[in-house]
Symmetry: C2
Subunit: 444 residues, 2 copies
């Protein structure tokens, strides 16, 4: 006999949502007055505010301030049930989700599993690089950076020093740009005070972009200005270069050039994170599930997908919508309405993406923003964009307490030129042991 | 040839301090204008404010708010050098500290390694119980508690449920009392909202004390009142009982009674944490180093010990001073002065302990305090003691930013009856697997 997970049956249609990212969270909210049972499954007990992961990695805010437990977010929502579980398989015939805590029956299934780091099949890279998709990644990077400097104190060989003090960030999207900016501010204001015995003039930060511009998808002004800001801050921006391999010590480029670093941050792409058991024909390129205008997965009646994992192919978006928070949230919200319409037999409303613009912050008083305000495009680079960025991110963080803590940190960091959380607490990445003699010949 | 750790030589007497707890921290501060080189060795890069560990364990504050990186604390102190290292051995003839990063030469050595959990040789207990001495312990307990409830949702066998929902805290000192109080507040205000599917009437919290009173060392009024407060909050206080064994599931007492729990918190005692290489004759009962009135370790000229690891035997303190923050801080401060006197050939000042009283908090508006104000003893139990407790702890936390974050949390928790950090992030304790069938016969 099959083993079912124990979940109270409230005698209402069961909407099972896999994944509590931006899309899943909005869907749960949108169903708060619906006559359904909402069952959210996630392998963490908290929602992660991904846009600020880079600040956790660079000691700017504490991890706890950007994550929020699901049970707390929805403690007032009576139709909400949470299960901490890992999904192993989906059986769309029996309408069952197979998890490590047992089977969960659904009437409507929503896949909101998001995206995962794309190493394009390079296992060596996956093993040696640090990603920037989860709180665990961010904490790993923070600990690794701090340990690098502690270890650097014990070395005088220049190449070994470079391997610990230089950083290579691959991927010139918002994550790469924001991380490069934050690291370079630490190099300027914080690390020299913490490690007066080290020479931070020899700390190099490389930002590698395979294409010809940073922040692809934003305006030409934003791309250009972000590069200018970064270069003014001493970041070495390498465009039109691809990383061919990374063995944990030497980065080799398609041009034949090499760099030495023990810390390579891989922010070069994501791929859909689908659930086993769905028909393979529903998967498009990039591992995303093809959905119709109502976010229904092609080939199913009662299986939906929202957010990064969903590819809604439209003439404007032949690859699906951009894998960003905004389309995810908008899809989650609309699907909540549509599921209620479906149950009550009303017509469904097709999804129309309202792009409100995008932005990235580079450093103190420096951000770039392409906004759509009152149907007008407003482009801004510099202080005003930075204020907007802070405001939007603060109000978007889930939970008033978290907002307070993040704001306290930001004020503190801004006025003291400090970042408080320089703690080595938890995991770190260990590549080539430092005691090992390495005799690479380096070009740079 | 011996392998030395690289530390810049500033040509001044080297004071090497092992351990950055309350004692070590005060000593470094006290040497800020001294004509010496201060070298602090710690295996963490941060100082831990231990009195609030129990709040990290019970989701009251984030771990990051009660720990503070050494390099940040002392970034303005020019004679301060920090090394993240583990001490393996001390060679008092060659005046060398052997660490995992190499040898460190000293002119004056100060052992400030504190105390560690005392399991009295019970290896099974050490393996199965959770201690409460480090941030890692506190995070482990927090994650374990939250996972217990997630797992409890999947069970209906009452004994299995009890094993996940009941908590046994061994040790009726401040840690045990404060932890029992905080857990019982979570049971009242927070957990039932998070887990409406569980029945929290069946959650039991046991506080076990081998002696006849809680908070031994405090006044009779404080002991009695703290027990009354806890019992009013539903904590089962068991006095005059000793735990004989704990296999990760069944707790067996010297009386033959048993309890079932997967989570036993061991706060029943500490023992000194000495450094290998010192003469065994210097060690007293409880693994503490015998020191004279100037905190000099018996048998040495230039080796000192301060804080929990030091036992200064006096007529009033035949076992040495209590292992608390206050004597540790006072010894650290005085030793800073005395080392300078020693170097300049002035007479040393003997240590006199100024007991400013002690306190413990039990819950909202409830604490007990025995204070010494203007040489008068002031005993208080209840709201006033609770205000004092909060004030003293807030001003004692290192770092203004941390004070802000802790205060924000406390205000938030107080007015919302909430505790925000209910995150399962990091390690947890896993004893007997839940799938395993257990057929113990339980008395209770």
């Amino acid at each position: 006999m099959a083993n079912y997970a124990r979940i109270q049956d409230i005698g209402k249609p069961k909407v099972v949502i896999i994944g509590g990212g931006f899309a899943g969270l909005e869907l749960v909210k949108s169903l708060r007055h619906a006559d359904v049972q909402v069952i959210l499954i996630d392998k963490q007990n908290y929602h992660t505010f991904q846009p600020l992961l880079y600040q956790v990695a660079t000691s700017g805010v504490e991890a706890d301030a950007i994550i929020h437990p699901f049970r707390k977010i929805f403690e007032e929502q009576k139709n909400f049930f949470f299960r901490l579980a890992e999904v192993q398989h989906v059986d769309t015939v029996q309408q069952l989700v197979e998890t490590n805590i047992g089977l969960i029956r659904y009437d409507f299934l929503v896949i909101a599993t998001g995206a995962t780091t794309n190493y394009f099949g390079d296992e060596q890279m996956e093993h040696n690089a640090i990603a920037m998709k989860s709180v665990a990644d961010a904490i790993t990077l923070r600990n690794t950076i701090l340990c690098n400097f502690e270890n650097a104190l014990q070395l005088d060989d220049q190449e070994q020093l470079n391997s610990l003090m230089d950083y290579v960030i691959v991927g010139g999207g918002p994550t790469g740009v924001e991380l490069a900016g934050a690291l370079s501010e630490l190099r300027l204001h914080v690390f020299p005070k913490d490690y007066p015995e080290l020479d931070f003039k020899s700390m190099d930060i490389y930002l590698i972009q395979s294409g010809g511009e940073l922040l692809k998808g934003m305006s030409a002004e934003a791309s250009k200005k972000s590069q200018q800001f970064l270069e003014e801050m001493g970041v070495k921006v390498w465009l039109n270069k691809r990383v061919k391999s990374y063995d944990g010590y030497t980065v080799t480029f398609n041009t034949g050039e090499t760099l030495v670093t023990r810390t390579l941050i891989w922010a070069a792409g994501v791929t859909g994170n689908p659930v086993p058991g769905l028909r393979p024909e529903s998967l498009l390129k990039g591992n995303r599930l093809q959905v119709d205008a109502h976010n229904r997965v092609m080939g199913y009646e009662n299986v939906f997908a929202i957010g990064d994992i969903a590819a809604m192919v439209t003439p404007e978006n032949p690859q699906g919508h951009p894998m960003l928070a905004q389309p995810a949230m908008q899809q989650g919200k609309l699907l909540g309405k549509n599921l209620q319409h479906l149950i009550s037999g009303q017509p469904l409303q097709p999804f129309v993406y309202k792009d409100q613009g995008s932005m990235a912050t580079i450093g103190r008083n420096k951000a770039v923003a392409d906004l759509k305000l009152f149907k007008k495009e407003v482009k801004s680079q510099g202080f005003f964009a930075w204020l907007i960025w802070m405001f939007i991110h603060l109000v978007s963080i889930v939970g008033f307490r978290n907002r307070l803590v993040v704001m306290t940190n930001w004020f503190w960091n801004y006025f003291t030129f400090d970042s408080g959380n320089r703690l080595i607490l938890g995991n770190k990445q260990e590549n080539v042991p430092i005691t090992e003699t390495i005799t690479h010949k380096t070009v740079l």
